[in-house]
Each structure stands twice: as structure tokens, then as C-alpha cells.
């Protein structure tokens, strides 16, 4: 294997892994705080993508403003869905929360279908995103490098926030032991709101890079990133923020290795191989690569 192929492989894994890491991080932030597997997370991404579409297609706003508003819409939908839908059921039971997240997901999908269009819409993305550039003999679209850079910046910022701000320390404490954190004066509503806001923020960033890659948005587009997030989280560990990031990169590594090594006749079954690996993880290492400090209660 020569150096160029290796570099190309590395760029592919890192760019795909960066995107997947952001996706799964958005899921785990909410799960860590309120043990909710948020099925509506994919729709957070879709909402942001639609905002990118509307602003890009019908206004002449410069792209940085469009991107910021797209991310802001992700934050807004995260914050508002918690306030309007999840908060009311939170005290009831975890099952109620889970069903609520299905409901939010389906309601948003139907709203997109009825209110916008069941067909996919082209999302205008600035041309430089998909411009091919050459580094050390490897040609790759600029967006692959942009997502890597964005992810490095975001992860660094999140690490600093979680480590050095009182809010971040409280979030980590609350994700290990929610009741005790409340006993220490940490407000439950604030923690959960912030978790949904961060989740929505990440969904907004993901929407930019996802629609840059696919070029379009449609009502069900959230399903694929959601599935990817689940798989990455299963691999990396549901109870650990670093685990979810690791999971995203490992997912990308496995997917790229499969793409390279599978004979072309089997390539269309790549996802099936991917799922087989996930099943293996569930059987052999159900806590994921990084287990975190959460204590699992036994149920069987």
C-alpha cells in the first residue's frame, strides 16, 4: 500500500469519523443526563437542514449567516421540544419519555411532509465546500477537511466547558448521579435544557455537513444519521462522552475498511456486515469500548 492510498484512507476515515462523532455525541449528551434515547434527534438535524434550504434558496443572506441560523434552529428545536414535549412526561417514567421521543419524531416528519413537501429539496451549499483540493497528491473535497477542523474545534471547546466551567462540572456530575447532583443544588431543568441545547447545536452542525454531502433535504433524512448515531454509541459506550466520539471514529474505520476489502460483489452488503459487527458488540461488549462511571442496574 503506498503513501497516497494511506493518506486518502486516513482522510476518509477522519472526515467520516468526525461527522459520526458529532452525531453520536449529540445523542449521548441527552442520554447521559436523562437516560433518554432520543428518537427525535434525527429530526433535529432535518429541521436545521430545512432552515439551510429555505435561507439558501429564498434569501440572499451570506453563507456564514445562513449556517449560524441553521445551527440556531437546531438549538431552538432541541430546547423547545424538551420544554414542550419531554418536560411534561419526565417525572412519569423513562418509557413515557421514550414514547414521547417517537411522537416528536413522527410529528416533525409529518409536518415536513405536509407543510413543505414529501420530495427532496436541493440545499444550496457554498461552492467551496465541494471544491476539490489536492494535498500531497491526494484529491479530496474541501468539506472533508472542514469537518475534521470543525470537529477538532468543537471537541476542544466541549472538553474545556465540561472540565473548567461550573456548569460543565455539574453536567458531568448529573450524568453520573442525577439525584445527588440535585441534592447539591444543581437544578434538574437547567441540566436537561442544556443537554438538549448542546444536542440541538450538534444536530445543527451535522446538518450543514450532511446536506453538503447529500446535497438535499427530505422529510425522512434524519433516519440515517440517527441509525449511525445508535451504532456509534453501541460501539463506543452509551455512558461515556469520550466513548461516543471513539465510537464514531471506529464506525468510520470499520466502514472504510469494509469498503476497501470487500469484493465488489459483496459491497452492497456492507451495511449488513456493519450490523453483524454491532451485534457482536452487543453480545461481547454490551457496555461499549468505554464504559463510563454509570452503574448499570441488573434487570435479569
Amino acid at each position: 500500500m503506498n503513501a497516497e492510498i494511506l493518506l486518502e484512507f486516513a482522510i476518509n476515515v477522519l472526515s467520516m469519523g468526525s461527522l459520526y462523532a458529532l452525531i453520536s455525541l449529540g445523542l449521548v449528551f441527552v442520554f447521559g443526563i436523562c437516560q433518554l434515547v432520543n428518537y427525535a434527534y434525527g429530526e433535529f438535524i432535518t429541521v436545521s437542514a430545512y432552515v439551510l434550504y429555505f435561507l439558501g434558496a429564498f434569501t440572499s443572506l451570506p453563507w456564514p449567516v445562513v449556517f449560524l441560523l441553521g445551527i440556531a434552529s437546531g438549538v431552538a428545536v432541541g430546547f423547545l421540544s424538551e420544554l414542550v414535549a419531554f418536560r411534561a412526561f419526565r417525572e412519569r417514567s423513562l418509557d413515557a419519555l421514550l414514547v414521547t421521543s417517537f411522537a416528536v419524531s413522527v410529528i416533525l416528519q409529518r409536518l415536513f411532509q405536509l407543510g413543505i413537501s414529501p420530495r427532496s429539496k436541493a440545499v444550496p451549499i457554498p461552492a467551496f465546500f465541494n471544491m476539490n483540493i489536492q494535498i500531497l497528491g491526494v484529491i479530496t473535497p474541501l468539506r472533508n477537511l472542514l469537518i475534521i477542523g470543525t470537529t477538532v474545534v468543537l471537541l476542544t471547546a466541549l472538553v474545556l466547558i465540561m472540565k473548567y466551567t461550573t456548569l460543565g462540572v455539574a453536567m458531568r456530575g448529573a450524568s453520573e448521579n442525577f439525584v445527588t447532583a440535585r441534592l447539591m443544588g444543581v437544578p434538574a431543568n437547567l441540566m436537561i435544557s442544556v443537554a438538549f441545547i448542546i444536542s440541538g447545536f450538534l444536530a445543527g452542525v451535522v446538518a450543514i455537513f450532511w446536506s453538503a454531502r447529500t446535497g438535499s433535504v427530505e422529510p425522512m433524512m434524519g433516519a440515517t444519521p440517527l441509525l449511525i448515531g445508535f451504532i456509534a454509541v453501541v460501539i463506543g459506550g452509551m455512558h461515556s462522552l469520550p466513548g461516543s466520539v471513539v465510537g464514531g471514529f471506529v464506525y468510520a474505520l470499520i466502514a472504510n475498511v469494509l469498503s476497501l476489502t470487500l469484493p465488489s460483489s459483496l459491497l452492497s452488503f456492507r451495511d449488513a456486515f456493519m450490523f453483524a459487527i454491532v451485534i457482536a458488540f452487543l453480545v461481547l461488549k454490551p457496555e461499549g469500548l468505554l464504559r463510563g462511571n454509570y452503574q448499570e442496574e441488573r434487570v435479569g
Binding site: 462540572v169 455539574a170 458531568r172 456530575g173 439525584v179 440535585r182 441534592l183 444543581v186 437544578p187 462511571n293
Partner: protein, 245 residues
């Protein structure tokens, strides 16, 4: 002793689902007092503290804190009003450092000079925490974790410090240390509500005591008078009442 108690509980009923845990508890804690709640396992001691701290919602009855009705308030709200609970089993945040554990204990406080001064003061009480300041809480020994749990309760300068079984699972030497510490805290004027299974030790240092049995108060008063008024074996061993627990 002032006329208005710091904590005033009247006719408190608490249930876990359909299982009634507390049957009409009445209790008072005054400024500067050390009050201890004793009773066998399952008598409802921890339930009382959890209801006061807002972890459990009472079915009926009322809880007044510093003259204010706080029945059914959220734990974070009660902490802000000046309650602190050192939970049973210590409940340290394992991956957080000692520093971060204390910082959560001080949630809502500005990390200013007065915080730094209080921290220094805590280090004179718990020198080990200064040594372990940057270590993860989960790596501390049981005794050190208990120190951290108590320090985490104290850092908010509470008007009422509640401790749930602080001596549980500790070696006899450490139990001595914890009880000496409680006496020291009392001498500093801190109002303390102490739940202990180690009734003998708890009664030895308490101003007043409540004896809990099957979710009811069997006895309340000064520990010295306790011996004459109830069957003492029910305090230590559960006696006839504790037999069916």
C-alpha cells in the same frame, strides 16, 4: 433555643408506591441542635431525610424549613434555601475529582474569596482532602469518601446539615473519627439532623433523639430519658416491633 424551629415536620406520610413507609411523623429541629433519628433497618430513618430533602414527595403532612412551608419542594430548591444532605452510601461522583465534587456541593455559590476561605477551613477539618484534591473521587478509600461527602455538604454553609448513616461500613477507628467530627461541627454551631444505625454512639452525642419504628415515632426526647421510657432492646435490636420487618 428559639421559638421557631429550623425544621418542623407535622403529620408526615410518605409511601413508596402502595407501600406506606412513614405514618404521620412529627419532628422538630432547633437552631444549633444535634438531633438524632435512631431505629432498626427498615424503620424509615432514611425515608424521613429523603422526604425532608425533597427526594421523596410526601403523601400528606407538612414540612416547614426556617418558618417557610416547603412541602413537596424540589431538592435543588431546598438546597438553595440552606439544606444539605450527606446521603447514605456517600454517593460521591466517582469520575470527578475531589475539587469538582466540592464545586458541585457549592453549586450556586460564586467561587470567590469567601469560597476559598471556606475551602481552607474545610481542609483544617479534613486534611486528607487537600492531599487528594486533584484525585478522582472514586479512587478514594471509604473513609476518605465519607469525609468528602460531609465536606461537600458543608461547603454550601447550610443552615441544616442532614447526615444519613455517616458511619456505615467504616472501620471502628474511622467511626470514632466521624463521631468526633460531628461533635466538632456541633460545637461550631451547625444544626445537625443525624440518622444512625449505631444508636449507642448517636444517642451519646445527641441533644435530642427520635426513635423510629415501623414508620412511626416510638419515642422522642432527651437520650438520657430514653432508657426509662421504652424497651431499650427495641432501639438496638428491633425488639418485638422490629421482628416483623
Amino acid at each position: 433555643m428559639t421559638n421557631n424551629p429550623v425544621l418542623e415536620i407535622s403529620d408526615l406520610y410518605v409511601a413508596y408506591g402502595s407501600i406506606q413507609a412513614l405514618h404521620g411523623i412529627c419532628m422538630e429541629v432547633h437552631q444549633g441542635e444535634l438531633v438524632s433519628i435512631c431505629g432498626v433497618n427498615g424503620a424509615g430513618k432514611s425515608t424521613v431525610l429523603k422526604a425532608i430533602a425533597g427526594v421523596l414527595k410526601p403523601r400528606s403532612g407538612s414540612i416547614r424549613f426556617k418558618g417557610k412551608d416547603v412541602t413537596g419542594s424540589k431538592p435543588e430548591h431546598l438546597h438553595k434555601l440552606g439544606m444539605a444532605l450527606v446521603p447514605e452510601g456517600r454517593e460521591i461522583f466517582p469520575s470527578l475529582t475531589v475539587e469538582e465534587n466540592l464545586r458541585i456541593g457549592a453549586f450556586g455559590r460564586r467561587l470567590d474569596k469567601s469560597y476559598a476561605a471556606d475551602l481552607e477551613d474545610l481542609f483544617t477539618l479534613f486534611p486528607i482532602l487537600k492531599e487528594r484534591y486533584h484525585q478522582a473521587g472514586g479512587l478514594l478509600s471509604g473513609g476518605e469518601q465519607q469525609m468528602l461527602a460531609i465536606a461537600r455538604g458543608l461547603i454550601s454553609n447550610p443552615d441544616l446539615l442532614m447526615m444519613d448513616e455517616p458511619s456505615l461500613g467504616l472501620s471502628p477507628a474511622l467511626v470514632d473519627q466521624i463521631f468526633e467530627l460531628i461533635i466538632e461541627l456541633k460545637s461550631r454551631g451547625i444544626t445537625i439532623l443525624l440518622v444512625e444505625q449505631n444508636a449507642q454512639r448517636a444517642l451519646g452525642i445527641a441533644d435530642r433523639a427520635y426513635l423510629l419504628s415501623n414508620g412511626k415515632i416510638e419515642y422522642s426526647g432527651r437520650p438520657q430519658d430514653l432508657e426509662g421510657s421504652v424497651d431499650i432492646t427495641s432501639v438496638y435490636l428491633g425488639g418485638q416491633n422490629g421482628g416483623d420487618v
